[in-house]
């Protein structure tokens, strides 16, 4: 299993849409890497500065309905181009969530209470988020402090992660 996660980017807002994740003016790019510098460029979130806050991050924690709006898979690619392959949220839009798994990336839904308490606890800290696949846990670490949260994945989501994405999965079956 490939490695998921890394240093955590906290985006404490609901309904972050794909226009905010990657604005349409960059949809003319035909390489995923070209999207990298524009990730979250138009995000309306007080105190968030894309130029300094994204560098070195490997995971995102956020509110409800993450990735709503446009179907553009460029949103998942822009995260991936920044080495972010894990998003933990209260909920996801259908298309964005599927895009993540279709690209072999991980989208984990946790309860609103859990997310709120994690964000409150780790908002101002330098946190690392890793995935323990054997125990199916998200492991948050800030210095000496550790928090382990159980998560679940459907059989299909797990199969997509294992296959490396939907093209790989579908190609041998259909």
């Amino acid at each position: 299993m490939k490695t998921f996660g890394g240093r955590l980017l906290v985006l404490d807002r609901d309904d972050i849409n794909t226009d905010e994740i990657i604005p349409a003016r960059y949809l003319t790019e035909i390489s995923k890497q070209a999207l990298a510098p524009h990730l979250l460029e138009d995000l309306g979130l007080e105190g968030f500065h894309p130029a300094t806050d994204i560098a070195g991050k490997g995971a995102v924690i956020t509110g409800a309905n993450f990735g709503c709006g446009s179907s553009r898979e460029h949103a998942a690619w822009a995260l991936e181009a920044n080495q972010i392959n894990l998003v933990v949220a209260k909920s996801f839009s259908r298309i964005f969530r599927q895009n993540m798994f279709n690209c072999g990336m991980l989208a984990v839904q946790l309860s609103a209470e859990t997310i709120d308490s994690l964000m409150e606890r780790f908002a101002k800290k330098d946190v690392r988020l890793d995935v323990d696949w054997e125990r199916l846990q998200l492991v948050f670490r800030a210095g000496e402090e550790t928090e382990e949260i159980d998560f679940s994945l459907s059989e299909f989501d797990r199969a997509l992660i294992k296959a490396g994405g939907w093209v790989e999965y579908a190609d041998v079956r259909y």
């Binding site: 309904d15 226009d19 179907s71 898979e73 259908r94 599927q98 690209c103 579908a170």
Partner: protein, 431 residues
């Protein structure tokens, strides 16, 4: 136990159930445009799988930026054009014959009752107006659709939205869907189909039903869907007549798709449209909706009439009815983009385009352009636009711009007034 229309369509197309409620369904159509398809094409080429499951079931259009505005958009068009040629895609629409995908494809008869359709575009939900199951997907789902003709989707849970009553004067399908999105919230129909039923839907033309279903995704919905009826069959008759002895026979055949009376819904909601006033969005989410009167008088810089939501002939006619014999405010830039060449031609023939031009509007060729801030009407920082499109996200029509979503009549009235204005002000007036 009975089934909903979405379940019936779904069940007729299932080819696999790999796990849980995930079903792989056979696709009747795969629609493509030049923004989300090129990366799928490139990946297929890289994998040595540059082929399509059925060239007759794939339809493609260059619509988002047309004509190309720079080298990059020219390249995107070229990738789609070259691919369509070498794979012998029969339904490919290039400049001169192109239009906004969700207006063009139904007009061409590519959307049929009971179809399953995907496209790399969130507003694919529009096609549910025809009693089809149509879902927006990302590029990877599109790629597999192109190659294999299948897509994996959750079994469709449905919210039934029962719309009763009669639309008051000055209130349109756009106002209804804004009210529905405001009621459900931007997350209220996620992973759900929204089934629209009731007398108000039965009274709607296909253009109005497309406007209604188009914004199902703004509540998170997978697909908006309407029952097939005489209106649907009439619209499609020129395409389906070889298969049926009469319109009545077609209607009888398709009526099997209508949800059973004992179908199970996630929830059922009801709204009497007779009570609605013209509506408009504020802020940056499409569920932030108020009566137009609440924002009346707010200054605006641009009015945009067009898009897959409201760029059809009926929409242009409604706007022209408000504009006829008048000129728009000096402080407003008016832009109208007929959604397809057929809409453009008809609007020209019946004088609608002339009314727009006399009023001081710029008439552009059919394109998605300004709706998502890609071309043909991008806003500057701090500018305000009343738009007949579907998204008011921060920066949607240009970085730092504010978009107010409304009906074509409200947009036209606002263009005349130079500020947000109810079309009622201009009802019955002449120059």
């Amino acid at each position: 136990m009975g089934k909903t229309i979405a379940e019936k369509i779904f069940d007729a197309h299932v080819v696999d159930n790999p796990a849980g409620d995930v079903h792989v369904i056979r696709l009747d159509k795969v629609f493509c445009h030049e923004i989300t398809t090129p990366m799928a094409i490139r990946d297929l080429v890289d994998r040595g799988k540059d082929r399509v499951f059925d060239p007759g079931k794939i339809k493609a259009v260059i619509d988002h930026v047309s004509p190309a505005k720079d080298s990059q958009t020219a390249e995107q068009g070229k990738i789609l054009r070259d691919w369509a040629r070498r794979n012998q895609i029969s339904g490919f629409f290039d400049i001169g014959r192109n239009g906004v995908c969700h207006a063009l494809f139904p007009e061409q008869g590519f959307v049929r009752l009971g179809d399953t359709i995907i496209m790399g575009d969130s507003h694919t939900c529009t096609h549910g107006a025809f009693g089809a199951f149509a879902a927006g997907v990302g590029t990877t789902d599109l790629e597999v659709g192109i190659l294999k003709g299948v897509c994996a989707l959750s079994y469709p849970a449905t919210i039934r939205y029962h719309l009763t009553g009669k639309l008051p004067r000055g209130v349109y399908a756009k106002d209804v869907i804004l009210a529905v999105v405001a009621d459900l919230g931007v997350n209220g129909a996620t992973n759900r189909v929204i089934e629209f039923t009731g007398a108000a839907v039965e009274d709607m033309s296909m253009a109005e039903r497309m406007t209604l279903c188009n914004m199902a995704v703004e509540a998170g919905g997978t697909c908006g869907i309407c029952y097939p009826d005489a209106t649907t069959v009439d619209f499609l008759w020129e395409f389906i007549h070889p298969d049926f002895s009469s319109r009545e026979a077609a209607l009888e055949y398709f009526s099997r798709l209508v949800s059973d009376s004992d179908a199970v819904y996630d929830k059922t909601l009801e709204m009497d449209v007779s009570d609605l006033a013209p509506l408009i969005t504020y802020d940056y989410k499409p569920d932030c909706v108020v009566p137009v009167s609440h924002l009346a008088g707010r200054p605006i810089d641009q009015v945009y009439i067009g898009s897959c939501t409201n760029g059809r002939l009926a929409d242009l006619r409604e706007a022209a009815r408000v504009l006829e014999g008048k000129t728009i405010s000096d402080s407003v830039r008016g832009i109208v983009s007929p959604a397809t060449p057929a809409v453009y031609r008809e609007a020209l023939a019946e004088g609608v385009i002339g009314i727009f031009m006399d009023a001081g509007f710029c008439v552009t060729n059919p394109t998605c352009g300004a709706c998502l801030g890609m071309s043909n009407g991008v806003l500057a920082e701090g500018e305000v636009c009343v738009s007949t499109t579907n998204r008011n996200f921060n920066g949607r029509m240009g970085k730092g711009g504010m978009v107010h979503l409304a009906s074509p009549a409200t947009a036209a009235a606002s263009a005349l007034a130079g500020c947000i204005e109810d079309s009622d002000l201009y009802e019955g007036q002449t120059a």
